[in-house]
């Protein structure tokens, strides 16, 4: 819960940052309401913080930590995490990291403005980035955040491995739990080198070492490698839990068993392993040896296969179902529809040839927002609307939910489809104003940028519906029964909200998680803990 609210608060901040710099891009060099004039330095800080916050302090805490903390004990039929104290510690460290990051807005020189990738030497020398304190704070915050999620992730993994209800076999574990655990493991295995690298960068900043300083035997390229060795698996760290949430919702609202549960699992594993060998596709033109680029181009297209297969399985799950288009289901379906776009546009960038041109253009921005928005926004809304009854014991208002849904999703597409075009036309990232570039100042592109900005305003304004719905329902929503969606998984067998210790007496599991529409039963669903 704490994670959820912290994450939402950070999301609001991240959204505000996005609003400010989109305003700057849409209406260059004008006074932005609620912020003021956007100077180049401020602009850099804005984009940097937007990226960092949205990934490290929104996507990860909500998708992994919030849902993990809430769902894992409930869904595996345990009364708590295996190590509640470690769990609390991990949250405290996380909160600290968030505060450190926010503090960097206030220090002299302002927040760090060297992009969320924080490449040295720019990030290493105050003389270059002009925000020495901000840079160090950013680094410390990220390091703390990593520690928090190492602890949390390991705790999730152990809990799921050891504390399952009697009778729950590997393949009876609900998909979302599998995905969260898998994500934790991927994170654990990929973050290490970057933690070491972050310490080195911190020394470069504060103790005048030369780990990344080319003039003193260091190598800036090293950081890029370390960063992306973590940074690419990170994409799947947030993707997999989102996929898991969507899987749950699809099964429940299509009243269907997941199509090929095991295959889904294997593809997830394959993705996890492959994600460790694709990172350099972020660096095709970054000065790595051109021959390496070919290898990474191959692996990158390889990883498209398990992901594509996964999406096919999701779509196939709908076949033969009886689909109820409640708000959570709308979000889940929107996830698939939008994520497909994000996935296929990735091919352009994974193919080294086109990446030469598209690298670091708005095409990239549009691409990864088409993956990250479904992950961090759409699937999160799906999850919240789906588990809200269980979390707070009240139902959300479906009408408000649907208004919010349509407003958000349509606006989202209007934001980012123009950016595909501006990117293809050569708009580069992180440029605060295109006044210097004749080719980018043609009216057509200017209008596209403005369109996208306006759409962002629309999207943000529609979030008001969500907030109203969320907080209004906390008090006045109709009371939720134990199992409002007629779902099979264990969390729905306890009253909403679950009491302390979750289960009156701990359940025993008899079957897999998705037994819907079995012929010859009076109900169309068969809970996991029902003896017969």
């Amino acid at each position: 819960m704490q994670y959820l609210f912290t994450g939402m608060a950070m999301a609001l901040i991240g959204g505000f940052l996005a609003y400010v710099f989109r305003m700057q891009l849409g209406f260059p060099n004008q006074h932005v309401p609620g912020f003021g004039l956007v100077t180049p330095g401020k602009y850099n800080a804005l984009v940097t913080m937007h990226g960092s916050i949205m990934i490290f302090w929104v996507a990860m805490p909500i998708l992994i930590a919030a849902f993990g903390n809430f769902l894992i004990p409930l869904m595996i039929g345990a009364d708590d995490m295996a190590f509640p104290r470690i769990n609390r510690l991990s949250y405290q460290i996380f909160l600290l990291s968030a505060l450190v990051l926010l503090a960097s807005f206030l220090v002299k020189g302002g927040a760090f403005g060297g992009a969320w990738t924080s490449y040295p030497p720019l990030s290493a020398k105050g003389a270059y980035n002009l925000t020495p304190i901000g840079a160090s704070l950013w680094l410390v915050a990220v390091a703390l955040e990593f520690v928090a999620f190492l602890l949390g992730g390991i705790n999730f993994t152990v809990t799921t491995m050891n504390s399952r209800a009697p009778g729950m076999k590997m393949y009876d574990i609900p998909m979302v739990i599998w995905m969260i655990v898998l994500a934790s493991i991927i994170f654990m295995a990929s973050a290490g080198p970057l933690i070491a690298g972050a310490v080195m960068l911190l020394f470069d900043q504060t103790m005048a070492t030369g780990f990344y300083d080319p003039n003193r035997g260091g190598d800036p390229l090293l950081w890029e490698h370390l960063f992306w060795f973590f940074g690419h698996p990170e994409v799947y760290v947030v993707l997999l839990p989102a996929m898991g949430i969507v899987a749950e919702i699809l099964a429940v609202f299509a009243r269907k068993k997941l199509f090929g549960y095991k295959t889904m699992l294997y593809t997830a594993w394959a993705t996890g392993v492959l994600s460790f060998v694709v990172w350099a596709h972020h660096q095709f033109v970054a000065g790595i040896d051109p021959r390496m680029a070919n290898i990474f181009s191959v692996t990158t297209l390889l990883i498209s296969i398990p992901i594509a297969e996964m999406v096919f399985l999701y779509i196939a799950t709908l076949y033969g179902g009886s689909i109820r288009l409640k708000t959570p289901m709308l979000w889940a379906l929107a996830f698939i529809a939008e994520f497909l776009i994000g996935g296929v546009t990735g091919i352009f960038l994974g193919a080294s040839g086109t990446d030469i041109y598209l690298h670091d253009t708005y095409f990239v921005i549009a691409h990864f927002h088409y993956t990250f928005v479904p992950i961090a926004i759409i699937s999160v809304f799906a999850g919240i609307t789906f588990w809200y009854p269980k979390m707070f014991g009240r139902m959300l208002n479906d009408t408000l939910g649907k208004i919010h849904f349509w407003g958000t999703v349509i606006a989202f597409n209007v934001i980012f489809i123009p950016l595909f075009i501006t990117g293809a036309a050569g708009d580069q990232r992180r440029v605060y104003s295109y006044s210097q570039f004749q080719e980018q100042m043609v009216p057509a592109l200017r209008h596209l940028r403005t369109t996208s900005t306006v759409a962002l305003l629309v999207m943000l304004s529609f979030q008001v519906f969500f907030l109203i719905n969320f907080f209004w329902s906390l008090r006045h929503g109709e009371r939720a029964v134990a199992n409002p969606w007629k779902s099979t998984t264990l969390e729905w067998t306890v009253p909403s909200p679950p009491p302390h210790g979750n289960f009156a007496e701990l359940p025993t599991v008899y079957r897999g998680a998705y037994e819907y529409g079995l012929p010859g039963r009076d109900t169309d669903y068969w809970p996991q803990d029902a003896p017969n």
Binding site: P73, A78, D79, D80, M81, A82, F83, P84, I86, L150, I154, N155, T157, V158, T159, M161, N162, S163, R164, M168, M188, A189, S190, A191, G192, P193, L194, I195, A196, G197, V199, M200, F203, M207, A208, T209, G210, F211, R216, G217, G218, D219, L222, L226, G501, L506
Partner: protein, 194 residues
Amino acid sequence: MSTAAAKPIANTRSATGIPSAKLITWWVIASEIVIFGGLLVIYIMHRLGHPEWGAEAAHTNTLAGALNTFVLLTSSLCAVLAHKAADAHDGPRAAKLLRFTALGGLIFLCIKGFEWTTDIHEGFVLSSGGFWSYYYTIAGLHGLHVLAGMIIMLIVAADAAKNQELQRVECIGLYWHFVDIVWIFLFPLLYIAR
């Protein structure tokens, strides 16, 4: 077990057959492997790329390194003997051995401190060149792990003396052995290799 009542059932379950405490230790070790592994991989590739570092490595005090290895090996022995004692439900003995282990850690840190002071007196500090940066960073990170291990170990020993939480004796032992193994590799990497 007196404190067991306070624990959630989740903590006492063991679907894998490995008790949770030991399982989490293994996972922690796995993540530590990645952290130290990453750092060492970086160091090795720089070392191979920079033959001139060999000359600077010559300044490190091989004898002190060897002595430290010996100390750590001995403390590891104490740790594993403590585990044996714990299996025999002999809490006090386990506690005694654990305290010996922690003492070993202390000696290790003292030797390291002496070594670093001499290095610094010779004018080799964190920022005086590639090799020294890595030398202090890696050894420092390892030293931190030793320190953390010692603290946890003393806490565990305090419980063990009262015959409580004996399963933790093995876990801290595992961690300590891992720290030992890391040093076993650091010793040739930082001291011997020229």
